[in-house]
Symmetry: C2
Subunit: 136 residues, 2 copies
């Protein structure tokens, strides 16, 4: 029970499932895992996910249509959950995901945007490939 502050019951349940998983989960997989806890419909999951995403406690992997718990501790370099752009390395064999920051990347993309007067709202960076274990 990783009780978290300010979360409703459903939000806690969803966050818990994601925290325990060592691979990204789709909303429907989460739903299945929570049927015993009274979950019956996708919206219960999506509503919880929306709030968790708002708080930065969960990230969405766009290339997978799946979700992961944020891997950061509360007090990470860039301000913990208030972090800026985050990137993911996703193993297509074992499903393992590594979340990381690359300031140089962020800054370069920021520069690109500033030069073109583009106002970034959210940036997605996802590398799919094989992790060290699976690259054999």
């Amino acid at each position: 029970m990783t009780a978290a502050p300010g979360l409703t019951k459903n939000q806690s349940l969803v966050f818990d499932v994601l925290s325990r998983s060592d691979a990204p989960l789709s909303a429907y997989t989460i739903l299945d895992k929570l049927r015993d806890h009274g979950f019956r419909a996708p919206l219960q999951v999506y509503r919880a996910l929306d709030k968790l995403l708002e708080r930065g406690m969960v990230h969405r992997l766009e290339s997978l249509n799946a979700f992961v718990a944020c891997a950061h501790q509360e007090k990470e370099c860039c301000g913990g959950h208030g972090h800026g752009t985050v990137a993911f390395a996703i193993c297509e064999s074992c499903g393992h995901v590594v979340e990381f920051h690359e300031h140089a990347v962020d800054h370069r993309l920021d520069d690109w945007a500033r030069e073109r007067k583009f106002k970034p709202a959210k940036t997605t960076i996802e590398i799919r490939g094989l992790c060290e274990q699976c690259a054999a």
Copy 2:
């Protein structure tokens, strides 16, 4: 009629629709635009898209579940359609998409992967926000 070499009829039709569009299109939108040309089922679109993606003539925007024609001319800096990682700036207001390379970003991500012995297969970089026009 942007006739392209080595493409089947369906592939040409799909590529043409994407080339003419100034915003990304979903597979189902493409389907609707091609009903007059005999398209009846999603698979006709997806099969054509698969081949176009293989050739690098079309890109998939993961955060939008949509597709765009490659913006490069045949002989771009990184080798035209054989290009490496490409990035996109997507305006959430007008839908316009700019495709670009940032070598510094590519290299930094490559370094990250090499340090961790992660073997990248495909990298997604998408910046969502507001273009200069829409940022008003």
